[in-house]
């Protein structure tokens, strides 16, 4: 629901050829693009974790060649027949062309260090990974797969919130995914959240907060209300580091901050502890 950030940062622009020098958004050092990619899109100078698209994330997390995608043909029906400055259907087509994906989440089954998992990965490059009916449905089906196949569920979250263009149909996806997680919980299934930049609004207030274990990437923005909305409401500056992973850790809402390079190992370790 928060305003999607514009894709002006280099990592948000698809197709920056590797081998070029680019400037880090955070530390402004010139960094060798190939090295950044090798470091899983983390700045070698300052450790800034760039946003990565869902396919790249899956490659980073899964054992090579093990990922098997589910439900990739689900598409939005445009339930409201929504048009703002452009029709929603057209916006979707543009996003689909830009990203090569049909929607803002990819789900499937894959192995993480040899452990079979059901995986959901949100794509911050697709309408800010906002949640409409298709995202809600794919997440829900992934949860149900985890129940049926008795496998751990890992969801890598990133989202601007509910997808406005699908109105209340999108809001109710919060309840739909949370209800499915209640069934997973009743079935004794393990659910690990990896909160990445940015995990906000309707996704933060539903499945991203309901993990048995919640990991987050360093400095990821995590919060409910948009920072500008808060600043306007209280009519004051927001404190440094507000709504970051570190802030959430300090206040008790996430378990661990995990650098990207350690994610595979950490997830595997948690799966082993839970005996899944």
């Amino acid at each position: 629901m928060d305003e999607p950030r514009k894709a002006t940062r280099p990592e948000d622009r698809p197709g920056v050829p590797p081998g070029l020098w680019t400037r880090c958004d955070k530390c402004e050092h010139m960094v060798y693009e190939k090295e950044v990619v090798e470091k899983l899109h983390v700045c070698p100078e300052c450790g800034h974790h760039r946003r990565v698209d869902a396919r790249t994330r899956i490659e980073q997390i899964c054992d090579p060649g093990t990922f098997e995608e589910f439900d990739k043909d689900l598409r939005s029906t445009d339930p409201l027949n929504f048009t703002d400055r452009i029709p929603y259907i057209e916006r979707l087509q543009r996003e689909q062309e830009k990203t090569g994906e049909t929607e803002a989440v990819i789900t499937g089954r894959g192995f993480i260090r040899g452990r079979a998992t059901i995986l959901g990965v949100m794509n911050p490059n697709f309408i800010m990974a906002s949640m409409g009916a298709v995202v809600g449905e794919k997440i829900t089906r992934a949860i149900e797969r985890a129940i049926e196949e008795n496998l751990p569920l890992v969801i890598v979250t990133a989202s601007g919130g509910a997808r406005m263009q699908e109105g209340m149909v999108s809001l109710v996806q919060m309840a739909k995914t949370s209800a499915a997680l209640a069934r997973l919980d009743d079935a004794g299934g393990l659910y690990v959240v990896v909160a990445t930049d940015p995990t906000t609004a309707g996704v933060a207030a539903s499945f991203a907060s309901l993990g048995d274990v919640i990991l987050a990437e360093p400095k990821a923005m995590i919060g409910f209300a948009g920072p500008r909305v808060i600043a306007n409401t209280i009519n004051a500056e927001l404190p440094e580091g507000f709504q970051t992973a570190e802030f959430m850790l300090e206040h008790g809402f996430i378990d661990r901050i995990v650098p990207r390079a350690d994610l595979r190992r950490e997830i595997a370790r948690i799966i082993d502890y839970c005996g899944k």
Partner: protein, 388 residues
């Protein structure tokens, strides 16, 4: 009292008589809403005739009676076809009955229970034991506050995490003693502030969504005014979701949506239309089950009648829900949540849908029917989630 000004504060005939209920602008001495200007003009006419009658002794009684019936007819006409933006204005009306009014008007013997047992008592959501019809229930509702002091104390109905935690605590109490839960939603949204984030507003709402989906007691949620996004949904998961006729329920405020998508808040009327936030639209979209009628001219013109309608709806719904065993009820609630939101599954669906005029409505009507009758066949036409 009446200084003859042309503002809407003009006084209607003596209060408490039939004449005053005939012309009740519902605002006390406040202004008419912008779309109610035709009513205001008629009222001014009537007042001028009455003044003239008083001052000069000329008899205008026939004209006055005629204008009064015109006023009533105009009210009926205006409210029978509110635009989405007009609905938003009515739902936010300063005199619209609040949950406290319904607790007094539709329930009996309210016994408020305070606090979240963790941090504080959030006045933006209150709740407690109450009776309605033959039922003992837990009633929970957003509080917007009646006057400025109350409004400040309950943050205009915008709850902090404590409000949602208190609501959940009371729901668990309800579950323990097999009391049904009735929630009344009336909020712009959860409170956007530093403390709310520090104390986990996202987590508090998420937990409510999950726990309400499996609470082993009947739940009825009713949007009585504003249903503002996650802050509304946080007490909105239920066996039966209803809206008062002129309430609205939206993923984002029309102003917020306009600012983001149109880049100007001026487009709020368009946003209100595009968001399909009225009770009628949301029933069509299968987001809500039922619409509770309001008196002509909106709940604020006759709060007693509005409370009576609400009471009737709650009592009959609870009578019905209580006939189902609680495990079956929870299973049905889960299934209801499972089937919200249509989608296209195979490319053929998209082609078939584009051949129809308004495929969406078909989708949702089908899924609604499928849910009601539990038929796998009817839910198959366009994926509703009931089938894999």
């Amino acid at each position: 009292m009446n200084d003859g000004s042309t503002t809407a504060s003009a006084v209607s005939p003596a209060r408490g008589t039939s004449a005053s209920s005939a012309i009740n602008n519902g605002n006390g001495f406040g202004a008419y809403l912008e779309f109610e200007k035709p009513l205001q003009r008629i009222q001014i006419d009537i007042e001028e005739m009455e003044r003239d009658q008083n001052e000069t002794g000329r008899d205008h009684s026939q004209d006055i009676a005629q204008q009064r019936s015109r006023w009533k007819a105009t009210l009926k006409r205006l409210y029978s076809n509110l635009t989405p933006w007009e609905t938003v204005l009515v739902a936010r009306h300063a005199k619209r009955p609040l949950s406290v009014d319904y607790v007094k008007g539709a329930f009996r013997d309210f016994c408020e229970l305070h606090g979240d047992r963790t941090f504080m008592d959030d006045h933006a959501i209150s709740g407690g034991f109450a009776r309605i019809g033959s039922h003992r229930v837990i009633v929970i509702g957003h509080n917007k506050g009646k006057d400025i002091k109350e409004r400040m104390s309950c943050n205009f109905g915008c709850a902090h995490p404590e409000g949602y935690r208190k609501a959940l605590r009371l729901m668990r109490l309800a579950e323990k003693y097999s009391l049904p839960v009735v929630c009344m939603i009336d909020t712009q949204g959860a409170y956007p502030g530093i403390g709310a984030e520090e104390r986990g507003i996202a987590y508090a709402i998420a937990v409510n969504l999950m726990e309400m989906s499996r609470l082993k007691t009947p739940i009825v949620s009713i949007v009585i005014g504003e249903g503002g996004s996650g802050g509304a949904l946080g007490i909105g998961v239920a066996d039966r979701v209803a809206m008062l006729q002129h309430a609205f329920y939206s993923v984002i405020s029309p102003e917020g949506c306009a600012a983001i998508l149109w880049k100007t808040a001026e487009q709020r009327k368009h946003a209100a239309e595009a968001l399909r936030l009225t009770s009628k639209d949301l029933q069509q979209l299968n987001v809500i089950d039922d619409i509770i009628p309001e008196p002509v001219g909106g709940a604020h013109r006759d709060p007693e009648a509005a409370a009576a309608n609400l009471e009737k709806y709650i009592v009959s719904t609870l009578d019905e829900l209580k006939r189902t065993k609680v495990d079956a009820l929870v299973a049905r609630r889960q299934k209801r949540l499972r089937t919200i939101g249509g989608f296209f599954e195979d490319p053929g669906d998209i082609v078939r849908a584009s051949e129809k005029k308004r495929p969406r409505q078909t989708t949702h009507r089908v899924s609604r029917l499928a849910e009601r009758f539990g038929s796998r066949e009817s839910s198959k036409i366009i994926g509703t989630g009931a089938t894999r």
